[in-house]
């Protein structure tokens, strides 16, 4: 073949292709909504949303991730729910509830006349069945631990259920708003046995949408339940489809073509600009309880040296990394996982603010880092330690690479240990002794600051399965964290948590890079779309309508 021909023809082809690819910024907008559309919701319409992986099940017992809950929380409901942007607990299937002064008895008044999707009426038997099912060790429910202190569940009359605890548990109230307390139909679950929650059979509940179909690996479809008990607002949509799209650029392409109307959370930060540029899509951010942070196995030398840890914190320019991925208005971080959104949920705001103001931020200070590193005397032992991180999230990858760079400036070589996301999960929740440095993320399940302190810093949680990724052991912190969980007074609890937080910050077991928010991309033809900080427990489609 005449190779000269090839040399001439190939570059031209490459340029043409490049032009085609770069034109992806311009989007073909779908047909607009009705002209002069107003803000009043109306019934009808169907929408498509995208999630990043196949849900595990439609059974609330196994819904403890970011994809299963989209369908589950529209079909089944908890006894309570999070409201007012997750700062409070409101009634749901329980009309009201009281807690005994000793914190060991919860009495719930169950709403009457609520219908399941198959037309049967929900009774206290269903409630008792649902709670006991979650507590059953043979079921191995992923959220069973939430009811860990519950020793007995029974109904005392046709509208009352009583929970007895073996010890007071400050977090139990929140569990009643999570999937641990979703009420399922005893009849339906018993009739379907192992098949309950699978694509074949789906699930039924009391929620605003009911199961239509689940085509494995492809999509789930739900339709409006017209006999839904809460008629205050919605549900409006005729149906919605949950599409499973593992590839991020395909999800964004779906937004561009209009085939996808709604995405939450799973937009990588390097695609924010692309999504913002789509003319018929709004991209908003909700504050989260999440933190992204770098930590060490603090039981293994030299990471057990507090000056070395502080030095590494000062050496790393967290602000620069954060702004690179989350923009110039990214929230500043301090040496705690309890960000302002989270501490607003418990007790005296002034006390938390005062504590926050005093907390160190370990702002980038190379001179200080050098000094501390020299004082620590362990600089040589840090050479060639490895930082484990996964590359599929840009901000995680970026933080790791920036850390390696920052340590390089101090004369310390840190090696990259790249792992898959799943391996990273296994490291973070395993024995906690098989890594040197690791990049992690964590967010509280509940609107309570203890959710970002106890799981991560109590020494009992450094065993396999726990979230104490820092392998942090401090007797005083343990005492404070255990004590606050048995109290019922919110201000008392806040005091103890603030104290624990202070000790942890001084010890610098973690380097907090960012408090990312949840991105929510919504097509402009929809109204009423809203996501709160704990959206994965919420019924997200009750108030959405097509304009």
């Amino acid at each position: 073949m005449n190779t000269l021909w090839l040399h001439r023809r190939l570059p031209i082809t490459a340029v043409v292709l490049a032009l085609l690819v770069s034109a992806c910024g311009t989007s073909a907008s779908p047909s607009p909504g009705s002209p002069g559309s107003d803000g009043t919701p109306k019934q009808g319409g169907s929408i498509t949303i995208a999630i990043e992986g196949e849900p595990a099940s439609m059974d609330p017992a196994f819904d403890y991730d970011f994809v299963s809950g989209i369908a589950v929380s529209s079909m089944t409901e908890g006894l309570l729910k999070f409201c007012e942007n997750d700062t409070k607990l409101c009634p749901s299937l329980a009309e009201s509830w009281t807690v005994s002064p000793d914190g060991k008895t919860y009495t719930l008044k169950i709403r009457q006349g609520v219908k399941f999707h198959d037309g049967t009426t929900m009774t206290v038997d269903d409630v008792v069945f649902s709670l006991n099912r979650i507590r059953d060790p043979d079921l191995a429910s992923y959220v069973g631990w939430m009811l860990g202190h519950v020793s007995d569940v029974k109904s005392t009359d046709a509208s009352t259920v009583v929970l007895t605890l073996d010890a007071p548990d400050a977090l139990l109230e929140y569990a009643l708003a999570a999937t641990a307390a979703h009420v399922v139909s005893k009849k339906f679950v018993e009739a379907n046995g192992d098949k309950y929650g699978t694509p074949e059979v789906g699930s039924i509940g009391t929620g605003p949408y009911k199961f239509v179909e689940w085509k494995s690996g492809d999509h789930q479809k739900l339709a409006r339940f017209d006999d839904y008990w809460d008629t205050s607002a919605g549900p409006y949509l005729d149906e919605f489809t949950i599409k499973i799209l593992p590839e991020p650029s395909t999800r964004v392409a779906g937004l561009q073509t209009g085939e996808i109307d709604w995405i939450i959370n799973n937009i990588p930060s390097d695609q924010y600009a692309t999504v913002k540029a789509i003319s018929n899509v709004d991209l908003t951010f909700t504050d989260s309880y999440y933190g992204e942070w770098i930590t060490f196995n603090t039981q293994a030398p030299p990471f057990d040296n507090v000056k070395a840890r502080q030095a590494m914190n000062y050496a790393f320019n967290k602000k620069a990394v954060r702004e690179l991925f989350y923009g110039a208005d990214a929230d500043p971080t301090k040496a705690t996982l309890v960000n302002p959104t989270l501490w607003a949920t418990l007790g005296d705001a002034a006390a938390w603010q005062a504590a926050w103001d005093e907390l160190p931020s370990y702002d980038y200070d190379e001179a200080m880092a050098r000094q501390l590193l020299d004082e620590s005397g362990v600089k040589d032992q840090l050479q060639n330690k490895e930082i484990a991180y996964y590359e599929s999230t840009p901000s995680i990858k970026g933080a790791a690479e920036a850390f390696i760079d920052a340590m390089g400036k101090l004369g310390v070589t840190i090696k990259a240990r790249k792992v898959t996301y799943q391996e990273s999960v296994a490291l973070q929740f395993g024995e906690h002794n098989d890594y040197d440095i690791i990049v992690a993320s964590w967010g509280s399940d509940f609107p309570d600051p203890s959710g970002n302190l106890r799981p991560n810093f109590a020494s009992e949680n450094s065993a396999a399965g726990g979230a104490n990724v820092s392998n942090y052991h401090n007797a005083e912190v343990d005492r404070l964290l255990a004590e606050q969980n048995a109290l019922t007074d919110k201000n008392e609890r806040a005091k103890l948590l603030i104290e624990a937080q202070k000790i942890i910050a001084a010890d610098s077991p973690i380097i907090v890079t960012a408090y990312p928010g949840w991105p929510l991309a919504v097509n402009k033809r929809l109204g009423g779309a809203f996501a709160s900080s704990l959206w994965y427990w919420d019924s997200l489609f009750k108030e959405i309508y097509v304009k």
Binding site: A28, Y64, Y142, S216, T250, A426
Partner: protein, 301 residues
């Protein structure tokens, strides 16, 4: 075939367990874990005891047709694979059909008109098809045909046969590009060789029309190597389908395999690998039979 399957299943069993990552922790997905729950799950998943006895237990059940339950999706593995398989088969068949329908005529024309514009154009297409990774072709296809032109849907498999066909065009073309490349090159060179042989000259001397010469005489003789290459390609198509399905949101066997490997879903991995081994063996058999059809000289006693 049985020894092959035994060997493959044993090796797969060992390999997945060597990979880092505890399936129980991964199933629980990075959220808080209660030790009792983790323990129960470990028992349910059959992860107690040494790996060899785990393998023997798995084999015992597998022989009876019970391939276990998916760790993550909590469903019967055979049922799960059965749900996902049809789409992948459709995808691969469509890709083969497109590939053969484009590549063989292209190769024939290229051989017939050597060194012409068509020849060089076809070679360029082949170069691109071979060089571009499948997922890249898929993403570019989505950008051009879905986002920019709006002619085709960006993802998914659609409802109903006609809609499904429309949804499968982009993925199957993306998949087919590599095969088109290889098959057209193979056809071209095989045809060139066939066209330069004596019997073709004799046919021309006889005054047969060019088309008859090309198709009935030359192509038929050129097909043996082409069939070999193309049937080997089906294996690569299976690999490619893994990438295309994940990229374009198709719920087929490919995306199930990716998912299960990432999530250390051992039962699904075992069953899928077993299934693929059976498929490959059958494919080889089919290819051998096809030789007999094309070339009467090859007959089996």
């Amino acid at each position: 075939m049985v020894p092959v399957l035994l060997f493959v299943s044993f090796v797969t069993f060992g390999l997945v367990r060597l990979a880092p990552g505890d399936p129980v922790l991964i199933v629980l997905g990075g959220r808080k874990v209660d030790p009792a729950t983790a323990d129960t799950l470990r028992h349910q998943f059959g992860l107690i005891g040494d790996p060899f006895s785990q393998y023997v237990a798995w084999l015992g059940r597998a022989i009876q047709g019970d391939l276990g339950n998916s760790y993550r999706l909590r469903q019967d593995v055979l049922g799960l694979i059965g749900d996902r398989l049809p789409l992948t088969i459709q995808l691969i068949v469509l890709a083969i059909v497109i590939a053969v329908a484009v590549a063989i005529p292209l190769g024939v024309i290229q051989a017939h008109r050597r060194d012409s514009a068509v020849d060089y154009g076809g070679s360029l297409v082949a170069l691109i098809g071979l060089s571009a990774p499948v997922y890249f072709s898929a993403i570019v296809g989505v950008l051009v045909f879905a986002v920019w032109l709006g002619w085709l849907p960006a993802f998914g498999s659609g409802d109903g046969p006609l809609d499904q066909l429309r949804h499968l065009i982009l993925p199957s073309v993306a998949l087919a590009l590599g095969t088109i490349a290889l098959t057209s090159r193979m056809t071209r060179s095989a045809m060139i060789e066939a066209l330069s042989s004596d019997y073709i000259e004799a046919a021309r001397a006889k005054g047969l029309p060019e088309r008859t010469i090309l198709v009935k005489h030359a192509l038929r003789n050129a097909l043996i190597p082409v069939v070999t290459v193309t049937s080997l390609q089906v294996g690569f198509l299976l690999v490619g389908s893994v990438l295309v399905e994940t990229t374009l949101g198709l719920g087929g066997l490919g995306s199930l395999i990716t998912d299960s490997i990432q999530n250390r879903d051992y039962p699904v991995i075992q069953a899928s690998v077993l299934l693929l081994s059976v498929a490959f063996s059958l494919l080889n058999l089919l290819t051998d039979l096809l030789y007999a059809v094309i070339d009467p000289r090859i007959r089996y006693a």
